[in-house]
Symmetry: C5
Subunit: 248 residues, 5 copies
Amino acid sequence: MIPMVEIKLLKQVDLSKCTFIEGFPGAGLVGPMAISYIISKLSMEYIGYVDSELLPPLVSIHNDMPLPPVRLYYSKEHKIAALFAETSPNKEASIYHIADTIHKFIEENKFSMTISLSGIPVEKPDDSVVFGIVSVPKLSKVLDGADIKKIGEGVATGISACLIMRAAIEEESDINLLVQVNPEVIDPKYAEMAIEKINKILGIDIDVSELDKEAKEVEARIRDLLQKSKEAPHDIDSPQPQGPSMYA
Amino acid sequence: MIPMVEIKLLKQVDLSKCTFIEGFPGAGLVGPMAISYIISKLSMEYIGYVDSELLPPLVSIHNDMPLPPVRLYYSKEHKIAALFAETSPNKEASIYHIADTIHKFIEENKFSMTISLSGIPVEKPDDSVVFGIVSVPKLSKVLDGADIKKIGEGVATGISACLIMRAAIEEESDINLLVQVNPEVIDPKYAEMAIEKINKILGIDIDVSELDKEAKEVEARIRDLLQKSKEAPHDIDSPQPQGPSMYA
Amino acid sequence: MIPMVEIKLLKQVDLSKCTFIEGFPGAGLVGPMAISYIISKLSMEYIGYVDSELLPPLVSIHNDMPLPPVRLYYSKEHKIAALFAETSPNKEASIYHIADTIHKFIEENKFSMTISLSGIPVEKPDDSVVFGIVSVPKLSKVLDGADIKKIGEGVATGISACLIMRAAIEEESDINLLVQVNPEVIDPKYAEMAIEKINKILGIDIDVSELDKEAKEVEARIRDLLQKSKEAPHDIDSPQPQGPSMYA
Amino acid sequence: MIPMVEIKLLKQVDLSKCTFIEGFPGAGLVGPMAISYIISKLSMEYIGYVDSELLPPLVSIHNDMPLPPVRLYYSKEHKIAALFAETSPNKEASIYHIADTIHKFIEENKFSMTISLSGIPVEKPDDSVVFGIVSVPKLSKVLDGADIKKIGEGVATGISACLIMRAAIEEESDINLLVQVNPEVIDPKYAEMAIEKINKILGIDIDVSELDKEAKEVEARIRDLLQKSKEAPHDIDSPQPQGPSMYA
Amino acid sequence: MIPMVEIKLLKQVDLSKCTFIEGFPGAGLVGPMAISYIISKLSMEYIGYVDSELLPPLVSIHNDMPLPPVRLYYSKEHKIAALFAETSPNKEASIYHIADTIHKFIEENKFSMTISLSGIPVEKPDDSVVFGIVSVPKLSKVLDGADIKKIGEGVATGISACLIMRAAIEEESDINLLVQVNPEVIDPKYAEMAIEKINKILGIDIDVSELDKEAKEVEARIRDLLQKSKEAPHDIDSPQPQGPSMYA
C-alpha cells in the first residue's frame, strides 16, 4: 500500500548543511510566489523534481521548456535548495506520503534547516506582521531576531505542517513562516513579507523591488495549473479534452 | 492490505502495570477535554504519538511546539499513560486498524488496565450519573465502588468500543466511562464528571477546580482541528488552501 | 487483495457432525431474532466471533459484557453451533469474502449441516407457510417431512445465498429457511415460524412460548446496531460523535 | 492488484475442439435467453461456474437447486460448451479481468471457436437481419454462408467485445452475433434469430418452436436477478434486507 | 500498487531511429483524426496495441476486424510508428501509468523523436498558426523551420504533456504540436494543420487533400467510442446493456 512518490535528482550536488525552502500552493499562493522569485533572484539551478502518481498529471512550460510541476532548485553559493510547487496532491493520504518522502529527502541529504512558507486566510490581513512556528525551542530566538511573531497555540494542516511535525519529532530545524492573506486576493506583498523574513533568518539580501512585476506571471501560471487540476479527470469521469494553455 | 498505523515512542519508558487512558473526539468532546486536563494536572510527559496515513494530515501547535494530533503522555509517578487525540480517523476500516494497533500496544507494553472516556449524546443529559462498561466481570465491583452505573445492554461504536471488545476477548481489564452529553453543547462539566470517576477508580486526586478555565482552550483547538479535518482534501477535490489557524 | 476476515474461537470444541445455524440481519430480522432465542433456550455457550475489517466497528453490550457483533455460540448437548449476527457487511465484495470464510469454517470443522434463516419481503405475508431451498436433492425429503414448501425457481442474495451455493457445489448439506415478512414490521411470529421448522428438521423441541417477550429486547438492540451502522463513518466523512447507546 | 476470478469445473471433460458460446445480460437479454434455451434443447450438462468477487453476490435457484449466476454447460454430443450468465460485473476493470479469465480458459482448453450473442439497441429493430463480427478474415465466409450481415465499421463494448478482440489478436476463431433489439421490450424473437444463425454456423438443428414458452421463465428470473443486482449493497450503504424471491 | 499497462507487439520490427507519433482524444479530436489519416496515407501496418485495465473495455471494428482501441501502427519506409487512440483513460493516476509505460516503450525501442498532437480549446481559433512545445532546446530550430510558434510559458495536461516532460528530463527529442480548436466543432482543418507541420518537421509529403472525406468516418467512430466510454459501467452502477454500434 505504498504509493509511488520519489524525489528524482537530475544531477548530484552536495546538499548537506543547505537550507530547504518549500511552500505548496495554498491561501494567497504565498509559497509558490515567494519561491519562484527567490529562484530567479538567486539564479538557482533546476536540479530535480517530485515524480508521483499522487500529483495531478500536469506539466508546466517555462522558458520554452516543459517541466514537472514540483521542482527542486539549488544555489551552491547561498547553500539553498527550494522546492517550487505549481500543484498540490488531492487526497489526504497523498499529503501523508508526499510529506514523508520530502522529510526523508531532507534527512538523507543532511539539510541544516527547513523553511516553509504559507498563508493564513483571514478577512482583514495585517501586513505588519509575519507569524512563525518552530520545530525546536532553540529556533525561537531566530524568530525573535527576525521580528517574527510566534504562534503559540493553533492548528496547521498540509505538507508544511506535516514536515515541521516530523522535524519536531526528530529534533531537526524547521521554521514555518505564515503570512496573513485575504484568500480572495493574490498580492505580491504577501511574498515580499515572506522573503524579507527569509533574508533576516538566513542573513542574505534578496532584493524584493522587482517582485511586483514577476509575481503577475507566476500567479497566472499557477492559477492556470490549479484550474487544470480541477478540470483534469479526477476519478470516474468520461474522457476530457486535454492540452495546454499558453501565455504567449 | 494492511495500512500504515504505528505508535511511535520518543523515549523508552516502562509502561508495565500502568493504566492506559484514551478518548478520541466524540459527542461532547469528553475524552479530549478530560485527558488534556489530566495531562496538565499530573504534569505528564509527552512520550510518543500515532503515525498513520489513516489520520487527517493535521498538526497541533501547543506551547510553541508543532505536535502530532494523537499523542501519548506518561506519568511515571502515577503510572498512567494517556492518549490525547485531537482528531479522528475518517473511515470504518481505519477505526478497525487504529484500534487494532492501540490494542496490540497495550498488550505488548503490559498495561494493567485501560480506561476509555466517551459521551453519550442525549437530549437532556443527567449530570448526576456516569455510566460504565467493563471488559471482565471482576471490574464490576470497581464500577460499584466508584458509583458508576453499569450499562447492561446496549451498543457502542468507535475506537473505545473496539478496544473494550478486544479486552473482553482477551480477558484484559478495560473500563469505558460514559457521560451523557448534549451534543450541541461543550461543557467542562462533562470532563469533570469523567475525571471524578477516574479519581475514584485509580485512587488518585486530580483537582478539577481549574477545569473550567483550561477547558476553553482545549475546546477551541479541538473544534478548529475538527473543522480543518472537514476542510482538508478528503478525496478527489481540487487543491485547497492549507495552512495554520492560531489563537495568539 | 484478500481482506482480513477470520472466525476466531475462544475455546477448542469438537464441532464435527454439528449443525451450523446462521442468519444475518435482513428483512424482518428473522435470523437474528430466531437465533438469539435459540441460543437462550438451549443455553448455548459463546465460543467465538468473526473478526473482520469488513464489518462496521460496532460492539454489542449484553449481560454487562462488550461483545463482537457477530458471534458463534455452541451447544454440546444439541450438537448445534449458531452464528448470531447483529450487523452486516456493507459491500458486495465483503459479502463474497465473509461467506467464503464462513464456508471454509464449516468445511474445516466438518459440520454435518447448515441451516440459514431469512425473510422474504412481501406486501401481505402468509404466515401459514415457510419456504425452503436445499443444497442437495436428498434434503428435499427433509423439507417435505417438516412441511416446508420448496422454492423451485427464484433468486437469492446475501450471505445465506452464497453459503448454500457453495454447499451445493461441494455437495454439502445446507437448508435455507425463508419466512414471508412485512418489511415494515418486526414480528416475533416470524422467528417462531422459523424455529418451529428447525424443531422439526433437527428433531428437537425448542419451546417458542416465551419468544414474544424476549424478541422485543433483541429487536431493540439490533435496530440500534443497524442505526449505528448507518451513522458510523463509512467513508470520507468528517469525524463523528461515537459512543454507546443503552437500554438500562 | 489481480482480483479473484476463476472458472471452476465440477468435473473434468475434454473441451478441445468444442465451440464456446457466451452472452452476458445486455440489451434485449439476447444472450441469456438464447443460451438458456440451447442448454435445455441440447440437454447440456452443468459442468462449472465463474467464481469471482467481481460479480454481485447472487444465487439463482433453478429446478430446486441453488446455482452460481454464471455457469458453464456442456454437450459432449454437440461438442458445445455454453456460459449462461444471469448477472454481469459492475465495474470497468471487472469486465477486463473477467474477459481475460474467460479468454485464458478458452485457450487453455483448446476450444475451436467462440460464438458470442448480444443485442444492438435501436429504436426500430429490423428482425430480418442478424449482424456479425469475426475475429479472423477466414470466418467471413461462415457469416456469408449463414446469411449474417457483417459489421464493417463500428464500436463494441463489454465482455463479448473484449473476447473477440483478444481472439483477433491471437488469430483464434470468434464470431459475435448481434440482433437488433428494442431495449424496452424482451422478445423471444430475438433469441430465435440468434439460435437460427447458430444452427447454420454449427450445422445443427435446434428447434426454436418452444422458445416462446420457455423464454418467459428465463426472462422472469433474469429480470429479478438484475433487479437484485441493483438492490444489493454496492458500496457504502447501510445493511439491507437480503433474501430470495421466488416464482413458485 | 502497479496497475496492468502493457504495449504488446504483434510482430517484431526494428523501431530504432523511428519517429513516434501519438495523440489521445482531446479537444477537437486533433490527434486521432490526424493520426488516422497518416496511417491510411502512409499505408502503415498494425503492429501492436496497449493492453490495460485502465482503459474502458471498448473494441473498435474497422475493416471488418475487431481491434483494441489504442493501437500502434508502423511504416518501415517512413520510419514512423503512430499510436492511434480511440479512447482515453478515465483517472488521473491512469494517465500517470499509461504515460509512464509509453515513455519506457519509446526509450527501450530507441525511437529518435516523439511528436504529440493536441488541440487547445479557445473561443475563436486562429487557423493561421500552429503552436509547439519542445523537450530540448536544440529542437527550437525545428519549430522555426516549420513555422511553428513556440509556447514559451504555459501549462499542459494529459498523456502528451507527461511524455514531453519525461523526454525533457531525459533529454530526449519530443515535440508537442498544438492546434487551436473550437471545442464545439470537429473540423478536418485541425488535423490538416497538424499534418502539414509534420510534413515539414519530418521532410515528408502527406497529401492532405482527401482528409475532408476520411475525417468524417473517423470522427463518427471516435464520437461513438467516447459516447460508449461514458455509458460503460464505470464504477458501481447496475448492469447495463452492452454491445456494438455500427456504421454499416
